[in-house]
């Protein structure tokens, strides 16, 4: 009477652990395949977007930096959308970059 429920619990726990292990293995295989096939491309795409965003920010904030590119009227209209990104934009733009950094895309 005592042994059976304990055995059952153990079995259940074993099943749970087995399911967790399976999940881990599946996650590992998916991760390795993603890294092998797509990660480099995804990083390169992110960098392309970063460069595009730099240009966008320069266009919209250009007049405030001394480079009037579009009329201030439009700059002011876009400003609320741009303001939240200013900090991270500055962080990315002013980061030291070297030719060996370009190898990542």
């Amino acid at each position: 009477m005592v042994i059976i429920p304990l055995f059952g619990k153990k079995k259940e726990r074993g099943r749970e652990e087995g399911a967790k292990d399976k999940e881990k293995v599946s996650e590992a295989i998916k991760g390795v395949l993603y890294g092998f096939a797509v990660h480099g491309a995804a990083t390169a795409a992110l960098k392309t977007r970063m460069h595009m965003e730099h240009l966008f920010m320069l266009m919209t904030l250009g007049d405030m930096l001394g480079f009037p590119i579009i009329p201030p009227y439009y700059s002011l209209k876009i400003l609320p959308y741009v303001v939240p990104n200013i900090k991270s934009w500055k962080q990315r733009l002013f980061r030291e970059r070297d030719f060996t950094d370009m190898l990542s895309g």
Binding site: V32, H39, T43, A45, R49, D98, S104
Partner: protein, 577 residues
């Protein structure tokens, strides 16, 4: 037919596997815990500078796959072809020892170097150690290095297309599959699993079509066949370098991944289970200390098997991307050491493919040796003789894919580097069309000689010397941290001496042909134009001198910095916490 384990490559592969496991679980763990003292709680640059673009934490599995894909190219597959000219025993010993004591040390430590230095890549790390001149010389060295890689890879792809009928059709099939896949994924937002299955089927079909059609035959363009193939390849690479990545290179690489992984698995399985197929080792274990046309075993063996044992390219990948995306420091060992030791396994399996082919193929320098060996290793469990023709085309494509995907990126890097390098009055050289054109024209001219083994040794020499520099850099930073630096300094010294010797040997041998003391290194049809053949030899002689001088300067400057750090003359490095 079953044969004994000792007669097949199987036991040697298992032995290598055990050595790599010991390296990973004992040596790498010891370095991880006692020298770098990694900690899960120490913040990595991926978290410190999180921007979602360059710096962001990535799972160790994803980074392992990325690192392996970025470091595995033709090096571990074709390198053993040259090395086996001395016999398979020296090649095997170098692959195992190289991986055990040097290969993973560099990949792992350069990742840690970036992690502990605010995510800096190779250029800024060199700048911090030896200043601006060192950084500029590194850039010049890398430009020559890219040119040599391009010359070797462009020549080899042209050779594969020429030698293996049907491989060109299959390559075009895979490129078209890549373009369709790109459109389906990016433009029509189709389901990724469906598109992947579709791409795999089309890829296998392309190989099938190539096998059945088996066209064009060898030397279809007459004596200038290789040169015509080089130009066709250059057109493809030119398009790849100037159009946006998602339009061409990204989907092509995505499609190419599947045969690339498939081929690796097939060779490893074939080598491990070779006793079941009765596949015997046919190559002699040792052939001699000197091979005509290749050179002396020391130092050439150590630069011929490049990426399979140690490669400077890996340090560029580790510092430019992987180190910036490491989630926790404890991931550096599975990612850096794990990926390198897996590549060591790939090199060992590729060596197995050369071990089982006829010694004549190696002696005559037939590039088909790998395809024949790999087909033999995998055909016995994949349908026997019936599948051999298909597998031959598949392994020919396997070689083409490894070369073409890397070369497409190298051409692109050349363009980006040129834009960075040429400013002011020289800015026109940085124009994307002109830079790409030059980046393809020069390697094609270099490849004209047809002496790909000599080019490969230049490539291996410059690549391994870069590894020597990276290891010295590691020793410098470790000494600054007041930790034992021998684990990196000794391999650095060995690699620096060996590779400078190899570069010197190759320069000397081109010097002999330049000054008329030895026959000019050239193959038909260039031999019909002695003046052009001589000019190219002279050019290689000059390139050899330049690579040697730049390499010597960098090695000297880095070693001086390291010795200063050892003597405590450099400020101790504060480890960020």
């Amino acid at each position: 037919m079953q044969v004994g384990y000792l007669e097949t490559p199987s036991l040697w592969i298992i032995g290598a596997l055990i050595a790599y496991a010991v390296a990973y679980y004992f040596y790498a763990r010891w370095v991880d815990e006692h020298i770098w003292e990694v900690s899960e709680s120490r913040t990595t640059p991926a978290h410190m500078y999180l921007d979602g673009v360059e710096y962001f934490p990535v799972s160790r599995y994803v980074l392992y796959g990325f690192q392996f894909k970025s470091i595995a190219a033709l090096g571990p597959i074709l390198g053993p072809f040259i090395a086996v000219a001395y016999g398979w025993v020296p090649a095997l010993i170098w692959i195992i020892i190289g991986n055990f004591f040097i290969g993973w040390v560099q990949d792992y430590s350069t990742i840690m170097l970036t992690v502990r230095n605010e995510g800096r890549s190779m250029g800024p790390l060199v700048y911090n150690a030896i200043g601006e001149r060192g950084r500029k010389i590194l850039l010049g060295y890398l430009l020559f290095y890219l040119l040599i890689i391009s010359a070797v890879f462009i020549y080899l792809v042209s050779l594969f297309w020429n030698v293996f009928p049907g491989s060109f059709i299959a390559t075009i099939g895979i490129i078209i599959t890549g373009l369709i896949t790109g459109e389906l994924l990016y433009k029509y937002k189709a389901n990724i699993f469906g598109v992947t299955a579709f791409a795999i089927i089309l890829t296998l079909l392309s190989v099938g079509v190539g096998t059945v059609v088996a066209w064009p035959p060898k030397n279809v363009f007459g004596p200038w066949s290789l040169q015509v193939w080089s130009i066709i390849l250059a057109i493809i690479l030119f398009v790849g370098a100037i159009v946006p990545l998602p339009k061409f290179i990204t989907p092509m690489n995505f499609v190419a991944v599947f045969p690339a992984i498939g081929g690796v698995i097939l060779i490893i399985l074939g080598a491990l289970f070779s006793p079941l197929g009765g596949i015997k080792v046919l190559q002699p274990g040792f052939k001699g200390w000197y091979v005509q046309g290749v050179g002396p075993l020391f130092p050439i063996l150590f630069v011929s098997i490049a990426c399979g044992a140690i490669s400077g390219w890996h340090s560029l990948v580790s510092t430019s991307t992987t180190g910036k995306q490491l989630d926790v420091e404890t991931d550096a060992r599975p990612v850096g050491a794990g990926a390198m030791l897996t590549e060591g396994l790939l090199a060992t399996s590729a060596l197995a493919a050369y071990m089982v082919v006829s010694p004549d193929l190696i002696a005559k320098g037939k590039i088909a040796a790998f395809v024949n060996g790999a087909t033999l290793l995998s055909a016995f469990y994949l349908g026997g003789k019936a599948s051999m023709a298909y597998l031959s085309t598949f392994f020919a494509i396997f070689l083409v894919i490894y070369a073409i995907t890397v070369q497409a990126l190298v051409t692109r890097y050349w363009r980006v580097f040129s834009a960075e390098l040429f400013r002011g009055t020289w800015s026109w050289l940085g124009n994307k069309y002109i830079a790409t054109f030059i980046g393809l024209l020069l390697p094609i001219l270099f490849a004209l000689t047809g002496s790909w083994i000599n080019l490969w040794i230049y490539f291996g020499g410059s690549n391994q010397l870069l590894a020597g520099m990276a290891l010295t850099l590691v020793a410098f930073y470790v000494a600054k941290m007041r930790k034992p630096s021998w684990y990196s300094a000794w391999p650095a010294a060995f690699m620096t001496i060996v590779t400078l010797a190899a570069l010197l040997w190759e320069t000397y041998s081109f010097g002999l042909s330049t000054f008329g003391l030895a026959p000019v290194k050239a193959k038909p049809p260039l031999t019909q134009y002695p003046a052009a053949a001589w000019a190219l030899n002279a050019l290689f002689f000059i390139i050899g001198i330049v690579l040697f001088v730049l390499g010597l300067y960098m090695s000297y400057a880095l070693w001086s910095a390291y010795m200063k750090a050892r003597r405590g003359e450099v400020e101790a490095k504060e480890v960020s916490t």
